[in-house]
Subunit: 528 residues, 2 copies
């Protein structure tokens, strides 16, 4: 029982450094490890083959993608400069606390919450799953403290106006009774002829399995399960009384219930999900600490022009108004495609068209937060997690940390559909808050008296953001077409950010996209 000297990961990294990602994959396969792959080869080693040797790289935008580029390029002797139009870094990472100001085009809100480390609001990214290895790797390297984020809470409520007369149901009940009813149907199908061959022995075993899966009785009927909860909970002398099962027909009337009940079954939402302790901006701070000398704040890039094999970057200091230029060999564009058009560029026509085609896919997300007593813990035994509503607010997030503190920040609305998002973005912050409070009543009667001091962020209105993230929905062909244009370099121009990854809408995508561009630049520098 000695400490091992070379973990699998270390070995794979070693191979990855020596021979690239392909070699690492080959090694994994040879090791028989690809039964459980999900391998991420680690941070790019750009110093190989002599590194950047002073090659000049301009990075537009100091979000996660831009700071990753700055970090890795600078470590490999590239001459990197990051131009950030705002007076802050982190892009969509925005953690608000008492005393902060929320500036949107058209409104300014002062956050008047109590000053307490536990009272924070991640208006942008707020969580990430265990398989976002690149982000997790940086958090590990940077000692960003992480804690468990509750994504799946069976005590939270599912509310759909079309089912159960609009009465919210505990998630545990919908989930358990759905499983039971579906299993009962499946057991019935097993009685019939199956069109695939199954031995008698297999059939009996599968049936037994399904019986257990659904909590069916001896006749393969679902008659309810303690997993759904109790009408009278067990206690000292009381054995408890299990709830009557919900009818699948009634459940299915809430078209959204299916999706909501399965939310944390999705790959990106599956446990374990984590968050940085005290706010997501810990990630931005950690990157900034290591890259600040390469970053110029308030530096708005206004013009991009090809020059030789490189490009000239023109930028304006938003404080002094002074305009300057920098000649770079490569330019990495990490700012949202919604604001790329504000730059006077000579991108090729196909690239310009692809950018334009992508813009409508940006989600006009809106989040609304309140300070509140932690009544959800005391009155509902809800510790973290998400309730869902078919009303506009869509989701309500209860804080996962500082459990049993007196107060907490409740996210009373998390909207990420085009119609509702646009409608809320057109409202004043006060109107949004009022609408969210009214909707919240449907989940928690008395809600209007339970929350206070609203703060909202409508991402379409945030300067230099112009939206939240790209969601291609089912338009994967569109994504493929757009990526086929934007993933390869357009001369000296490279596009990064989550929108250039297959992990859209997550910081992990931003990092992976940046790594991809960095590998591309490295290949150019090494092989000409």
């Amino acid at each position: 029982m000695y400490r091992d000297r070379l973990t699998r990961r270390a070995f794979v990294n070693l191979v990855g450094r020596a021979g690239g990602v392909g070699a690492a994959y080959g090694t994994l396969t040879a090791m028989g490890l690809l039964a459980v792959p999900e391998a991420y080869a680690g941070r790019p080693d750009l110093a190989r083959h002599g590194g950047g040797r002073g090659v000049k790289v301009a990075v537009i935008g100091a979000g996660v993608s831009g700071m990753v580029a700055a970090l890795e390029l600078s470590a490999a002797q590239y001459d990197v400069r990051v131009f950030e139009a705002q007076e802050r870094v982190g892009g969509r990472i925005r953690t608000y606390r008492g005393g902060d100001t929320v500036v949107e085009n058209g409104s300014v809100q002062r956050v008047d919450w109590d000053r307490d480390p536990g009272l924070y609001f991640n208006a942008g990214p707020a969580r990430f799953p265990h398989h976002h290895e690149a982000l997790l790797g940086y958090c590990r390297d940077f000692d960003v403290p992480l804690q468990v984020f509750v994504n799946d809470n069976r005590a939270a409520y599912l509310h759909d106006a079309a089912a159960f007369g609009g009465r919210p149901q505990r998630a545990r009940r919908v989930i358990t009774d759905t499983r039971g009813a579906v299993a009962e149907l499946a057991a019935r199908a097993l009685k019939q002829d199956l069109d695939r061959p199954m031995s008698e022995e297999d059939l009996a075993r599968v049936r037994d399995f399904i019986q257990g899966f659904g909590g069916l009785d001896g006749n393969y009927r679902y008659t309810g399960s303690p997993d759904a909860g109790y009408s009278e909970p067990p206690g000292g002398p009381e054995p408890g009384q299990v709830l009557e099962p919900l009818d699948l027909v009634e459940i299915s009337k809430g078209s959204s219930l299916r999706w909501r009940a399965l939310f944390s079954e999705q790959y990106p939402q599956q446990s374990t999900v984590v968050e940085p302790t005290g706010g997501m901006d810990a990630v931005a701070r950690a990157f900034y600490q290591r890259t600040r000398r390469f970053i110029t704040l308030n530096a708005q890039v206004t013009k991009l022009r090809r020059a030789g094999s490189g490009a000239q970057v023109t930028w304006r200091d938003r404080v002094t108004g002074r305009v300057q230029v920098w000649d770079a060999d490569h330019v990495i564009v990490t700012v949202p495609l919604t604001v790329v058009n504000a730059i006077d560029s000579d991108f090729s026509p196909p690239v310009k068209r692809a950018v334009e085609a992508a813009v409508p896919y940006y989600i006009p997300a809106v989040k609304i937060a309140f300070q509140a007593d932690r009544w959800w813990e005391k009155d509902h035994q809800i510790y973290g997690g998400i309730s869902w509503s078919s009303r506009d607010i869509t989701q309500m997030w209860y804080p996962s940390s500082n459990l049993h503190a007196r107060e907490g920040i409740l996210v009373g609305a998390y909207i990420w559909t085009h119609d509702i998002g646009n409608s809320f973005s057109a409202m004043t912050p006060a109107q949004r808050a009022a609408a969210a409070v009214a909707d919240g009543e449907h989940l928690h009667p008395g809600y209007r008296n339970l929350v206070r001091r609203p703060v909202s962020v409508a991402w379409p209105n945030v300067p230099f953001q112009g939206g939240a993230w790209i969601d291609w929905g089912d338009d994967l062909a569109t994504r493929r077409d757009i990526y086929s244009v934007l993933l390869p370099p357009d001369g000296p121009y490279w596009f990064a950010g989550e929108r250039m990854s297959h992990i859209n809408g997550w910081q992990e995508g931003s990092i992976r996209a940046a790594h991809n561009v960095l590998h591309g630049i490295q290949a150019r520098v090494t092989h000409g």
Copy 2:
């Protein structure tokens, strides 16, 4: 949006105080709140009707049940004394850290782990769910810091020697592919005649619902889902390749896989589950801080004799050997039934028989922990949660907190079946560790080099415990018979502890059982 002045809970408590639990329930029903009940009326208010007025209560055992009794009785002017045979309080709450000593009948282990607040091992209770309101209430009242405990981790492994050639599978894959296959069968059943009436419209809706539930294709076939994971994960330019679905017939061969895949679907294991930050003994410390003046340590009760309407308690100081007596009006027995027989008592014959009948239901639980580098995070993206094996170790627990710390305490075995528990209890600690290491290899190849410094606790061997907790299994009729004898007082004798509740094996049960006895004593004192 003002702070509300009287929460539902506060109101229910108020009613509860005025009229008892029954009134509180009635009020809840009248308020229409029993749609989502799970109401716990709060800590008993024993001071009503004048309180204890010096009535003498002896409590045997300073576990959670005993300390709850001491706390609530002393607050209501009862004259309470707790006799604890050990030199410590907390009963089965045992949190081990570097420098501690584990004493069993027959062995002594020195815990040689590094001294670090993150390196702790809860050998007894280690978590509790969000609906354990009594325990949560005390934690709130006592400011015991809580954090989220990862019970459900889809990245953890399920291993069953009888399925997949013994190759461990990620939980996400087994769970997702089971759901898909069962949904496919259910959709097929819907094509057949159903024996309950369902309109065409309902049928179409339910079918659509099941399609979504299982991730079925347009033909209601399950052909795999990203929720099961990827053979090639998505990244920057890579769209990813979803894993082939596992065959339900093969899954069903692992008879334990069903249970394991559904583990966190069970009511007591459902999210949100929490643990005290830094170790479960924070609960014991919090109670002890408030009850220490009523507790005598090293005080082994050797004899109980009825005297008048009360009883005489004879106890021996285990340090000085001095024997003393205390005359009490009531005696609350909270020590495990496995050790009750060591007391020379005049319990009634039915009570003695019931105690004897209950003893075989005590689980001979064993836990084995190791210090280790956190290779499970780096190499497997496992952040907390539980892997399962059909080998003897049964479970492997990864720590939920101090994520990304360099080292962690890995629970390499959590055994809670009679045969394996007894077999491991008969081994030396070194033998147990070796067996656990060999089993661990089946979950994590190379395991023997990945863990070190084993510490184990076999609960049958722990002095004054003699087992872990009672699990009645399917013998609910036995429980009913035994409870019918042990729940009512036997003259001055009252039995508490989790074994006297319907929440067996949990601290919540201990508290509820104690509350039940306290209400009984209060009724006696008030109404004679």
